[in-house]
């Protein structure tokens, strides 16, 4: 089959001001302008957003799921990075 598919875009929506854009899905579109239009029709039919980002999927670089241990496990034994690690006297423990 000849490949005439429109490219894939990832869609990120800010649900309201003060919040981050959050990934919510993907759409196929021939260009950026139409990707925004399609994303608006597909993902914000009920006022789910006030701003949309679209990124062509081939431009996203992702971490390898098989590299999860070496990337993320080292943080596991660094409990001193969390405030709860430090037990302070009761009088000042709300610090």
């Amino acid at each position: 089959m000849e490949r005439k598919e429109w490219p894939l875009w990832e869609v990120f929506v800010r649900s309201r001001n003060g919040l981050d854009h959050k990934h919510c899905g993907s759409v196929h579109a021939p260009d950026a302008k139409l990707a925004l239009q399609v994303a608006r029709d597909v993902y914000t039919r009920r006022q789910e957003g006030v701003s949309i980002w679209v990124v062509e999927a081939s431009n996203i670089v992702a971490s390898d799921p098989d590299a999860k241990p070496e990337l993320f496990d080292p943080a596991e034994d660094k409990i001193y990075r969390h405030p709860t690690f430090y037990q302070l006297p009761d009088e000042v423990n709300h610090m």
Binding site: R3, H23, G25, R45, I60, S63, D64, P65
Partner: protein
């Protein structure tokens, strides 16, 4: 969702996505499923799990898309502007649901074109319910109440399905389906307050849609080929018969409020079981429609293929327009 096209750098024999079957990967996968965890797009998964999901998610997507046809049929004939706006919004939702689901299926390494091709050539199935005709305006109400009602029962457990992209698509879909069911029931309530002819129309539509609706839950558990394995994989959380019973119990009460009866003389409350008993399902009819001999199979597919082919020039022109724009930009740089 979560594209199949993400670029993962530094792929080598021991670092890239694991493609091969391997007992160690399998054990890791099983443990994740047993712990109620999610499998994400690039995680290792058994080939049979991937294939099952592609089949199920794409059938589901096709059903949403084909499901636009029986209702679209009534948009121009809606009795009021309000009902027309509601129906338009509902049909647009069905299109949206199809798109969320195609995107979820694509994360498993199939292209949108392959999925659509399977639908258009008849290789892939869609829900048989959409092969029944919508004869009167009351059908639009009954489709919302019963057909979408049955769909919701089926879909709620899928929000916790083990495959992340599918589960997330289902969460979004379920939120929107509730509107579909309620607007259908509201439409019927309005008709029941109308003339005797309108009330008859509602009862007639219920008579025609009741059995097909409860067939939507699929074959009995003992005859369901995929159920056991799908339950093991966390794709299917509740059995066909349990869901069907839940639907019957909920719906019979709603029918009383509406003032209609179900076309089943054996339907009655069973005190001992705490459920409604109901008559035997005509599975010959079910398989007849699944296998392409329903009233609408040929027309539905023909309408779908025609829409796709008639739109081909638009898709091609849009791509060509972007190609030329990019070339101009490249030249100017």
């Amino acid at each position: 969702m979560y594209t199949q096209a993400l670029d993962i750098p530094q792929q080598s024999a021991d670092k890239g996505p694991k493609a091969v079957e391997n007992p160690a990967y399998q054990a890791e996968f099983d443990a994740k499923i047993d712990a109620g965890g999610y499998i994400e797009a690039k995680d290792w998964m058994p080939e049979a799990y991937r294939k099952t999901l592609v089949r199920q998610i794409s059938q589901h997507a096709h059903s949403e898309i084909v499901g636009m046809l029986p209702e679209g049929n009534w948009i121009t004939r809606a009795p009021t502007l309000k009902r027309k706006a509601i129906l338009l919004a509902k049909v647009q939702d069905e299109g949206g649901h199809g798109l969320y689901l195609y995107a979820a299926a694509e994360t498993l390494g199939v292209s949108r074109d392959e999925l659509l091709d399977a639908l258009h050539t008849g290789k892939a199935k869609y829900s048989s319910i959409f092969n029944y005709p919508t004869l009167t305006w009351a059908d639009i109400g009954v489709v919302g109440w019963l057909v979408d009602g049955a769909a919701i029962m089926n879909q709620i457990p899928l929000c916790k399905c083990s495959y992340g992209p599918y589960a997330r698509a289902m969460v979004r879909i379920c939120k929107e389906e509730s509107f579909h069911q309620r607007q259908g029931y509201d439409l019927l309530l309005t008709m029941m307050k109308g003339t005797p002819e309108q009330r008859e129309m509602v009862q007639d539509a219920v008579n025609r849609w009741w059995w097909p609706s409860i067939m939507m839950f699929g074959p009995h558990d003992k005859d369901s080929v995929h159920s056991g394995q799908s339950a093991r994989w966390g794709i299917k959380r509740i059995s066909n018969d349990d869901l069907r019973q839940k639907f019957v119990d909920a719906t019979v009460e709603q029918a009383k409020v509406l003032g209609v009866t179900m076309p089943d003389p054996e339907l009655k409350w069973n005190e001992e079981r705490g459920h409604y008993d109901f008559g035997a399902i005509d599975w010959d009819e079910f398989w007849n429609v699944v296998n392409g001999h329903g009233q609408g199979n040929v027309d539905r597919l023909a309408a779908r293929v025609k829409a796709w082919e008639d739109g081909a020039w638009v898709r091609e022109a849009a791509l060509e327009h972007e190609r030329k724009r990019a070339a101009r930009e490249h030249q100017a740089a």
